[in-house]
Symmetry: C2
Subunit: 319 residues, 2 copies
């Protein structure tokens, strides 16, 4: 297990994931309260809003006000999400976000069609245009992403060789445009991953591109989120997306199976217990998780906020 | 990862765990309904009741009626739990249970004192008496158990060498009484285990006793249940305790951190996805999980009952 990293890097997506799903009921000031609290935990990357159509996602209608209102802390990249040029322009206009370009391919043509109404060829063709659009705005493109990299509800399991090919295409598109991707994310968008497929897919991608940093975006829809993260750690993955409290997950809501990313504080506890550095103060993060629950007004799926940190218990026992 | 077993054996503890914690509100007939449904899933070992004092555990006051009422299916061991001679005698009197003796030692003297009001010496001395009591009743003793084998809220981390010693003591006690333990369970009673400590402790016990079957009893209080189970599978463990729906867990209850065993159907899905045989029909088990939720009247923490089985989705896509 010598591939287990000494340090992991967490991209906190809770505010964006959570408030996006919660509708328009959460006051802007409370969103800002959570972001400002997260800024005190040691997290280095926080995705705080998405710039999407307010009619489609009422919970993000106040994106500009949230971005204008939070208090940036030094050393933290505050990110936003956008799906088109209009969204990007809104993000740029705030002048307060860390803007990064990202290229995306899909391991499922059927899901790409459902989600974006595009064929594989159209998606491929759109990527160089994206790079140029980012370049026009002076925004670097260092990241790629493979959506549905482990499987999909419309096509079933994703072939690992296909994922390897897609990673190769992402790297080649960037290179052809004079950019070099430093990190490629593998998204388990519909929670098809298991520890076995994490091993298989990450293993094949690593074999093909040993110098490329990989990140995992794992949904906990089938409860395997942390087991999959552990499998990823064993494969040497150092970058993980996560959401405080498990925000974004609505396991008990009417829409079956909607569950968010792995829960940040549960993942941090697992890393701590494995001797892996996270840079995060778990106690402060647990306060954020409880704050998130208070803001959202219903229980969130994260467990450590109830169970408690083991490091804190050790300190108490030692004192 | 060649130690991963081809087949796992699940001890279902949901009915006992769940109805024990739910108080006296659940009608006997509905408890029986769940047990009878679980009997149709392929599970081979179901712990259905505990024989404890009805004033202390009102939810088990109807234990005899539950045992008298369920319909045994062939090939299934129906088990009960007891904590003393009185409880054992009640179990025997039902004449319908698969009775097995079990020896137990604690990796935490402080927890032993809190839980049983006994010193380590008293607990050790009680074990041979237990064997003789079981022998008087014609009940085999094949199982040992180490409580708090990974750590405890009163003493902190359990030293792996101490767990190895306790396993040795359990084997020696049985042998001195002419019995041979076939299986020793390691209990993560207070959810102190992590994938790293599972690896460490199971590894050391296996090195010392390579022919002994181990089982893991993992609580999901800190969300690491399935990650720990995966670590156990990688260490060759084939026996796991689990609870349908995650029964026994009350993550949103007032008593902080009370969480049950790993959720049976989530564990079965993980095994299926890893190519490990469980003998369990996941679709039928998911029906049981939903039934359990209906009986209990509040959401249970298991995820696959919302997210759905991947095997079922593959079948649907193939048809």
């Amino acid at each position: 297990m010598s591939d287990i990293p000494q340090r992991v890097f967490i991209k906190e997506e809770g505010p964006r994931e959570g408030f996006q799903i919660e509708g328009a009921g959460v006051p802007t000031a409370r969103k800002i309260e959570l972001i400002d609290a997260l800024s005190q935990t040691g997290l280095e990357h926080i995705q705080i809003v998405s710039f999407v159509h307010p009619k489609l996602v009422p919970g993000m209608a106040d994106a500009e006000a949230v971005v204008a209102g939070f208090t940036p802390a030094p050393g933290i990249a505050y990110a936003g999400l956008w799906l088109n040029r209009k969204g990007l322009e809104r993000a740029i206009a705030t002048q307060r976000l860390d803007l990064q370009g990202k290229l995306t391919l899909y391991a499922s043509d059927a899901f790409l069609m459902k989600n974006q109404n595009r064929t594989r060829e159209q998606q491929l063709a759109a990527q160089p245009e994206l790079v140029r659009m980012y370049r026009d705005h002076g925004i670097p493109v260092r990241t790629g992403f493979v959506t549905a990299a482990f499987g999909c509800n419309f096509e079933g399991d994703a072939a690992p060789s296909r994922v390897v090919d897609l990673v190769g295409e992402l790297l080649a598109i960037a290179e052809a445009e004079g950019e070099r991707l430093e990190l490629v994310g593998l998204g388990d968008t519909m929670a098809w991953a298991s520890p076995a497929s994490i091993q298989r897919v990450v293993g094949m991608v690593r074999d093909a591109y040993p110098d490329l940093e990989l990140s995992l975006h794992l949904h906990d829809t089938r409860g395997l989120g942390l087991a999959n993260a552990y499998a990823g750690l064993q494969m040497g993955v150092r970058h993980f997306d996560a959401a405080v409290g498990g925000l974004g997950g609505c396991p008990f809501a009417a829409h079956n199976g909607a569950a968010g990313n792995i829960c940040t504080e549960d993942f941090v506890l697992m890393c701590e217990e494995m001797g892996i550095e996270t840079g995060v103060d778990l106690e402060k993060l647990l306060e954020c998780a409880r704050l998130a629950e208070d803001i959202i007004g219903h229980p969130l799926p994260g467990k450590v906020k109830q169970g408690g940190s083991l490091m804190a218990m050790r300190r108490k026992l030692a004192s």
